[in-house]
Chain length 313, copies 2
């Protein structure tokens, strides 16, 4: 099992990426081989400094970096020797089995959608976010921005992919699926959610519990919450600022700390044929470690095959 | 100037409504006449107990109450002698100039839309919520649920109505208008926001500052934030739960206290020909007082005429 990691992506690269790799390896008995893609000399120096055990990684040299604010499509096309472009080349050719980066999100999405096929049967790949619930559990919300205009059948597929992820990666036995909506009762909603409801209700692959409202997002009502990417993106970014504001105002509490998305280790793109994990620009060591862990789990538990199977049935 | 108040609406009616009236009158030098609509004997007893000065109110007897969970249209039709139905009869006939209730929200909306005309030129009346900004100022977000499917021209009108409200009622000199969206740049968004952007940009009645994202909702970037009612409803309810959760977890801070929507005094329906203000079911005295104040301000400052004029230009 080979996992590729972009060492040059994110605000604190490559130092925090190296520290994340060191942390990850120190906690694992059996590790996949990590392909560390980045500035060869710089990364070599850092892995030595941080005593990263040599048998567990290979450095893959890249000569360019896609900046956080570059135009994704243009940058990917022009910077073929960038760490992100090389990562997708390795992934597409099968030299690595999963690819992780905290770099330019747009470039990661474009790279994923253009170089990695969608899983058979998937209409729209999607991205999700974890949601810290009041009772300490972890929900997921999807889509959070990849598909701003959705059709009912997209939401239905998000529900299936989210359920498989919630079950296999977050360890929730029988994830409860809720449809983000403006009211509890069937029949409530906009045109999209009104049409999506019966699809979800009749979907035997999921455990649909009905509509969930804004007030339910942080409660334990549903483990998997599906919505169009417009709504999801706004919810995600609102939750992110909330942490920043409470942090700035020095309001401290364990619960608020769970809104620090830096800790979660990025979001996988769901619905493509290989695991791709996109981290926050602000990712630090623990986020890199967690991203490698999620990629490893996705491969070990054959999450994508399970999704494909669930979507076929 | 006559303002009607439903004394039977809300979880703590009529006691908190009476206390709110008492608070309001104790703080005002010149007051409109308040029409207190409710159970005559009960309200009479309470106003005596709370020493509400007699010259400032009249009690209007109602014999029925629409419960918080009754079907709005059915209840309004069948309970003609309910406090809400009587309120709309008085408002439609001109005996009162504004109507306030913390009762069944659906019944208030149905009553408004069916018995009070839309302002000339208004395509869709709307409801808003105040948003507590990090810097202490107060923004508004609209629509928050009355129009779950919107057209671009609806958002454009919400921007105008929101700006007038923000200016005249919240006292913001030149309200900055933002379009709720998933990215900052023009051209980002779903079909609705992509089409709404140029309308807002070319609208001379407002001070449009471009797109705002989920991360900007609580920041000072925009004073008036416009979105479809699906998105707005989810944001509002998420913000409401946030307060409840921090309250339950005993996380205390002045900023979090500002998410206690109980204090804000309800939301006016904007875009109808007469002020109608809908309070939270959980409204207590201070909320009732604030709702009367908002109604009074809306009448004194001729908010609806100003909206009508702004929409014509």
């Amino acid at each position: 099992m080979n996992i590729g990691l972009d060492m040059m992506g994110g605000d604190f690269a490559p130092l925090e990426a190296v520290k994340g790799v060191a942390q990850y390896l120190s906690e694992q008995k059996q590790s996949p081989t990590l392909f560390l893609i980045g500035d060869q000399k710089y990364v070599e120096k850092l892995v030595k400094e941080h005593k990263v055990p040599e048998e567990h990684f290979r450095i893959i040299a890249s000569e360019e970096v896609i900046g956080m604010h570059e135009h994704p499509t243009k940058a990917l096309k022009e910077k073929q020797r960038s760490s992100i472009a090389i990562g997708f080349q390795l992934l597409a050719s099968g030299k690595i089995d999963a690819f992780i980066s905290a770099g330019n999100t747009g470039a990661m999405l474009v790279g994923t959608l253009f170089s990695i096929k969608a899983l058979e049967g998937v209409l729209r790949p999607t991205i999700s976010t974890v949601i810290p619930k009041e009772d300490g559990s972890t929900g997921i919300l999807l889509d959070v921005g990849l598909n701003v205009d959705c059709k009912p059948e997209h939401l239905n597929q998000f529900a299936v992919m989210g359920s498989v992820f919630s079950h296999l990666i977050l360890g929730i036995e029988k994830p409860k699926v809720g449809l983000m909506n403006v009211g509890q009762e069937e029949g409530k909603g906009n045109l999209l959610t009104q049409a999506a409801y019966p699809l979800l209700k009749n979907n035997k692959q999921i455990h649909f519990i009905g509509n969930v409202e804004g007030r339910d997002i942080l409660l334990e009502k549903a483990d998997v919450m599906v919505c169009d990417g417009f709504t999801g993106n706004i919810i995600l970014k609102l939750a992110e600022t909330l942490y920043e504001i409470t942090h700035r105002k020095r309001i401290q509490h364990d619960y608020l700390e769970r809104f620090n998305f830096e800790n979660y280790g990025g979001t996988p793109v769901l619905g493509v044929a290989k695991p791709v994990i996109i981290g926050h620009g602000i990712s630090k060591a623990v986020a890199f470690k967690n991203m490698i862990l999620v990629a490893q789990k996705m491969l070990e538990k054959k999450v994508l095959e399970r999704m494909k199977k669930a979507l076929e049935e």
